[in-house]
């Protein structure tokens, strides 16, 4: 069975995904982890701001905004649509 893994920044609006990995041990990488984006957690992509960046996701029952450059550090397995 093939898994579709892509960068969170490229995941289509309205999709769901499961975090595979978060890159980087710097402040941004640590902050993403602290906010609950740990491997295995499920998230959904809710949308982007009018200028195309940042994006808004839902994870662990709350809403989070992050820049696409930050979302590019997160690889997610895209889950089949509900």
């Amino acid at each position: 069975m093939s898994r579709l893994v892509s960068r969170l920044a490229e995941v289509a609006i309205g999709s769901r995904g499961r975090v595979v990995e978060v890159d980087g041990g710097d402040a941004i990488g640590i902050r993403l982890l602290e906010m609950g984006l740990t491997p295995g957690v499920e998230l959904s992509v809710l949308g982007t701001a009018p200028l195309g960046d940042p994006m808004e996701i839902e994870v662990r029952g709350y809403r989070l905004s992050l820049r696409k450059s930050e979302a590019a550090r997160i690889s997610v397995e895209v889950l089949p649509g509900a």
Binding site: I28, R31, V41, D53, S65, E70
Partner: protein, 741 residues
């Protein structure tokens, strides 16, 4: 007499994620019994309150809202050091009060899991129970307390529900078990921390900052902080062997499949997941919440942008239209007080000090209050209902072009009304570098105090030409150009500062978008008054002191007899009399005297002395003096020019008649001893450009000092803005003269 244990003060630290109602709880517990200050060397606000208990008064330290205790900067280190009792300027807390959002428990437990490792008694305030109920999230409070091993008190802080129970627990703080948490980390990690702790305290090496061993919590943080801040902070002058031990410990963990820093989040969220699995029941199908529906509109590409623009217009025009009304009252009140004192005192230094120094200085402080209160009313409202984060979300892309984030937008927008509340509003920016850059460029926005300068000069010197059949007027274009100049220069300076002085890793913009809720009037009003009071107490004193100093510079030295004789001589001179044609006869002598006094005052002499410096800008000494004398506030410049041109100081630029009178005097002004007019279009433009860019505003500099907790930054802002203003005015005049010639 000795104090019994019951009477000794106990200190409690209040910690929690942002958007959990932490300040609402702090205010509900302490009321007005709170003090605000600064921790030295950092920009963190030190907020301490007192809770009246049954046995004694408890001291409550409010720490900044945070998602994690992992420090990456000196500001974040303050929280950790206060909690660990490592600061000499704050009492070591006897217990920790952790406030969490019941509707969002899993993420909130991340911070709780760190707090549980501090080896201090912890009380969990489970706030927002009402929101959780609304979302059909059921929290089993007693099971949660069992799981955490600490008391858990359900709360609705904004309705004061559960406060009595919380007070009772805090009252009985001695009976709380000092909890040694079972670590959420795997065994190997715990062993590695223990070994590293031993290695670091080997050969008598101790924490030089407090003279004892590092607390275990800090050793753990050191191991996890791959960003390097703690390593630099704690091991800067330590044995190089220690750094080697640290690297070795990280390698051990990486080889065992628990790489730092990832292992922390994985372990703590695993633990949080276990706790919530037992104690929280989530609704089976997540219903679309009100927040979902509101956000569909408010972050919509078209509707969201439109509503945002509308909201900002409302905020902005409110500062411009509501604030001037009470500002007028305040001005009249101080004028009345001035008249009252004037009528009862003989002319002389004392009267002048009281009226032009003390009362004018006080008035100059209080007059900012309406703008501050109006702006912070809206900011508190938008923050409390959850919109503030959306505003930052919508504007982030735009602001990131100059290296800032969406959070800088509202402080900068507010600065178009007045930089004082704008700079104060920059507190919402957590990143110290972004906050500093925002604060430093905020005074470049054309504030309302520049308007009088623009109005007089534009109406007097810019021809009323119109283009496109009357649609565009040259005067409006010049106005617009001055605003644009401020924005463009601010963008360039911000970009430059981020590339040089405030260079560093881009801070994360990973930001929670909190659920919408009805704002609580108590919180909004409290926050608004709190900001107003903070301004009066902390910046007001500096502004007042500057006003007194400038008064003295304008008053002394005083040669009454000489000035009287000279004024009488000038009045008899037909050339001067012609200039005073539209001044009422009885005022002419007095105005002449004022003008002469100002000219020979210390400040007036300074103005004359710097004439060679301002000549290249096309200015004579009069303009130079006016520019210097306007240091307390830009709008003063028109009053100073009024005195210089013998119109008296009560020039009201809002009145067309005064505008015309001052304008006429400016047009008629000539270089001393010649018939060559001082002002032409390039001079007017150069003066406007100077005032658009200069830092002639004592209040702004005073607030800069207070907000950055150092004199360095107001001095920096003053120097760079004055330099820019000078160069800008120079280029404007010199280039302008090419066209005139």
């Amino acid at each position: 007499m000795s104090l019994s244990i019951e009477q000794a003060t106990r200190t409690i630290a209040l910690v929690g994620n942002p958007n959990t109602g932490k300040s609402t709880l702090f205010n509900a517990l302490c009321g007005v019994r709170q003090r605000v200050g600064n921790y030295p060397g950092v920009t963190v606000e030190k907020k301490v309150g007192h809770v009246r208990g049954k046995h004694r008064t408890l001291e409550l330290i409010d720490l900044p809202g945070t998602y994690s205790l992992a420090p990456h900067s000196p500001d974040e280190m303050v929280t950790v050091d206060v909690l660990l009792g490592r600061r000499t300027d704050a009492a070591s807390p006897d217990a920790v009060l952790a406030i969490v959002d019941a509707a969002n428990l899993e993420r909130n437990l991340y911070l709780v899991s760190q707090l549980l490792e501090l080896d201090k008694p912890v009380v969990v305030a489970l706030n927002m129970m009402d929101v959780a109920r609304e979302r059909e999230v059921e929290v089993d409070v007693s099971r949660l307390a069992d799981q955490l091993g600490v008391p858990v008190i359900p709360l609705e802080a904004h309705r004061k529900v559960g406060l009595a129970e919380l007070r009772a627990v805090l009252d009985d703080i001695e009976s709380l078990p000092s909890r040694t948490a079972s670590s959420p980390f795997p065994a190997l990690f715990q062993e590695t921390v223990a070994e590293l702790n031993v290695a670091l305290s080997a050969n008598g090496e101790a924490d030089a900052k407090i003279g004892r061993e590092l607390p275990r919590f800090l050793v753990e943080r050191l191991l996890l902080d791959t960003g390097g801040y703690l390593e630099g902070h704690l091991l800067a002058d330590a044995d190089p062997q220690h750094r080697a031990s640290l690297v070795a410990a990280r390698d051990t963990l990486a080889n065992a499949g628990m790489p730092v820093p990832g292992i922390e989040a994985v372990s703590r969220y695993r633990w949080a997941g276990e706790v919530t699995r037992d104690a929280v029941r989530q609704p089976r199908a997540r219903a679309a919440t009100l927040t979902d529906r509101i956000d569909q509109v408010l972050t919509h590409w078209v509707a969201g942008t439109l509503i945002f623009v509308l909201l900002m217009l409302v905020v902005f025009t409110s500062i411009f239209t509501f604030a001037p009304v009470p500002m007028g009252w305040i001005e009249s009140l101080f004028e009345l007080a001035g008249d009252f004192v004037s009528a009862r005192l003989a002319d002389g230094a004392l009267k002048s000090l009281l009226v032009d120094g003390v009362l004018a200085g006080l008035g100059g402080v209080v007059v900012f209050l309406p703008q501050i209160l109006v702006l912070f009313f809206f900011i508190a409202l938008l923050e409390d209902c959850g919109y503030m984060a959306r505003a930052a979300y919508l504007m982030d892309k735009l602001m990131s072009r100059v290296g800032l984030s969406g959070k800088s937008f509202i402080p900068l927008l507010s600065s178009f009304a007045c930089a004082v509340p704008g700079i104060m509003a920059a507190r919402v920016i957590e990143n110290p570098r972004d906050r500093m850059v925002t604060i430093l460029v905020a005074p470049l926005m054309s504030c309302s105090a520049r308007l009088p300068v623009y109005i007089i000069l534009v109406s007097a010197f810019i021809p009323a030409t119109t283009y496109l059949g009357g649609l565009l007027s040259l005067q409006v274009l010049v106005f617009f150009a001055m605003y644009l100049l401020g924005i463009v220069v601010a963008a360039a300076v911000a970009w430059l500062l981020k590339k040089t002085l405030f260079r560093g890793e881009t801070p994360p913009f990973v930001m929670e978008l909190p659920s919408y809720k009805w704002p609580s009037p108590g919180t909004v009003v409290f926050r608004m008054l709190d900001r107003g009071w903070a301004f009066l107490r902390r910046a007001g004193t500096i502004i007042f002191a500057v006003a007194i100093v400038v008064w003295a510079l304008l008053y002394f030295p005083r040669n009454e007899a000489e000035v009287k004789a000279e004024a009488a001589r000038q009045l008899a001179d037909p050339a001067v009399a012609a200039l005073l044609a539209d001044v009422p006869e009885e005022e002419r002598l007095e105005n002449l005297e004022k003008s002469l006094h100002q000219r020979q005052s210390l400040l007036g002499r300074a103005g004359q002395a710097i004439e060679p410096v301002v000549r290249p800008l096309g200015w004579d000494w009069r303009i130079g003096s006016a520019a210097i004398a306007s240091f307390p506030a830009r709008e003063v410049v028109m009053g100073v020019l009024g005195v210089i041109y013998r119109l008296g100081e009560d020039i009201d630029v809002g009145e067309e008649e005064d505008q015309t009178r001052l304008g006429a005097q400016l047009k008629a002004a000539t270089w001393d001893g010649t018939a060559r007019p001082v002002y032409n279009v390039p001079v007017a433009l150069s003066l406007m450009v100077f005032f658009a860019l200069c830092a002639q505003c004592a209040a702004t500099l005073a607030v800069l000092k207070r907000e950055t907790n150092s004199w360095r930054w107001p001095i920096f802002a003053f120097v760079y803005m004055t330099a820019l203003a000078y160069v800008g005015a120079l280029i404007t005049y010199q280039v302008g003269m090419l066209f005139v010639a």
